[in-house]
């Protein structure tokens, strides 16, 4: 159908496309509703990864015990996605394809090194999430391709996580968000780190400067504050919501808080195990 209908749009949860239709920002000739397509909504945890069907509702992710235990940062971050009424309909695949620069699930996929799977007339292909955003609200999907699932590698159970964002009101689009994952050894030395910022550019920005800079160091508040300063040098969007210099200042604060939360949880987990 995707290949045969001119000017079509796939409709997932409709929490972004429907407003665009209502306001005539998007005027497709054909809408293909994915809500009755079977087999696109599921959450499966294998030993090393979680595979989420593209049409899985955000609410089902929010209340999934498997996600809570295997990938707790997703449970924490998804509460910031819109409101209960929109999470009841909104899907993870729809959010990724819409690719809003401040979307929480988009930032998480960058943070977690997710792989997305798309199906088209030529078959199936996997796209590493780092290559998925190719422009402002534009993904690497071809016009005749459909996202089917998202695969996320799991971190060890002792990892710590933190997700924080600054928005003007609860449920609003974040001006800047920060997410962090940390893995420590028994002496609280950092073995592995992942840090991502949302809302600062057209796509999430992995803070590789921080990730490599803190490896081998001891976890602690001073280190987080020092490491987060790297966010003051990034390029950031400048729009009606915030200037780029304000976004940089927010990014420093958000990154520090995300690292702090992740560090505290990692230390607590180590004591428990």
């Amino acid at each position: 159908m995707l290949a045969s209908l001119e000017n079509n749009r796939l409709l997932a949860g409709g929490q972004s496309l429907m407003p665009m239709l209502n306001m005539r920002y998007a005027m497709p000739d054909h809408i293909i509703d994915l809500n009755r397509v079977e087999g696109l909504a599921s959450i499966l945890i294998t030993g090393s990864e979680v595979v989420i069907g593209a049409m899985t509702r955000q609410r089902d992710i929010e209340f999934s015990a498997e996600i809570q235990s295997g990938c707790p940062i997703m449970t924490e971050a998804i509460r910031h996605v819109g409101h209960r009424q929109t999470r009841n309909r909104g899907t993870i695949g729809g959010s990724l394809c819409h690719l809003d620069p401040s979307a929480e699930l988009v930032t998480l996929c960058a943070l977690l090194d997710a792989t997305v799977t798309a199906v088209g007339p030529d078959g199936q292909r996997d796209i590493p999430f780092a290559q998925f955003p190719i422009g402002y609200m534009t993904s690497a999907l071809q016009p005749n391709e459909c996202l089917t699932r998202i695969s996320i590698p799991l971190w060890p159970p002792t990892h710590g996580y933190g997700f924080v964002e600054f928005a003007r009101r609860h449920g609003d689009f974040a001006i800047v968000s920060a997410a962090a994952l940390l893995e420590l050894d028994a002496s609280s030395t950092i073995l592995r780190a992942s840090v991502a910022l949302g809302g600062v550019g057209y796509a999430p920005r992995r803070m590789t400067e921080i990730e490599t800079g803190i490896l081998g160091q001891k976890a602690g508040s001073e280190l987080w504050a020092e490491a987060a300063k790297a966010c003051s040098k990034i390029e950031a969007l400048d729009d009606v919501h915030a200037s780029s210099s304000y976004r940089r200042r927010l990014a420093v604060a958000m990154a520090r808080r995300a690292l702090q939360a992740a560090g505290d949880r990692a230390l607590a987990n180590l004591q428990r195990h």
Binding site: I31, R59, R84, Q85, T86, G171
Partner: protein, 162 residues
């Protein structure tokens, strides 16, 4: 205009209707079924006034097409009271605590909070405020809505039903 025939359950009654594919669920409920209790404020998913229950889950009826509701069960504000007109405990608590003034946001507040009280019979004030964070009210300042909801939760825990 492209049309489809749909069958759905609204407030316990089955309707089979022919509807234009471009029609939103909200417009279908209001114009075709004449259930004007569902209000349309912003029509792009921000104000929450059009919230209905879709198979028991709260959803914005302005962000769904009527054809997508084919085969599903919808509850609107008209479906909350008993058949003899007795108000739902939540509606009664709204009346008792001045949980509404102009009443525009009320249908969305009620449907959203019905879902909350079903999933969480003993919510905290913060739980209630988070639940209605996607519903705009310009009259009450939310305080009386929160008070009414906490009181309704208490009444329902003591066994009051519709």
């Amino acid at each position: 205009m492209d049309q489809r025939r749909i069958t759905l359950d609204v407030n316990g009654s089955t309707f089979t209707e022919t509807v234009a594919t471009r029609t939103t669920l909200a417009d279908f409920l209001r114009h075709q079924l004449r259930l004007t209790g569902t209000h349309l404020g912003c029509e792009h998913g921000v104000c929450g006034a059009c919230t209905v229950l879709l198979d028991g889950r709260s959803a914005r009826s302005c962000l769904m097409l009527a054809v997508q509701a084919d085969g599903h069960q919808i509850t609107t504000v008209e479906g909350l009271e008993a058949s003899d007109g007795t108000l739902h405990p939540l509606q009664q608590a709204f009346a008792d605590h001045h949980g509404l003034q102009c009443g525009f946001c009320t249908p969305g507040m009620l449907t959203t909070l019905i879902e909350l009280l079903r999933d969480n019979p003993d919510p905290s004030e913060s739980d209630v405020r988070i639940a209605i964070s996607g519903n705009l009210c310009r009259c009450t300042g939310y305080q009386s809505i929160v008070t009414a909801t906490l009181d309704a939760a208490k009444r329902m825990r003591m066994g009051q039903t519709v």
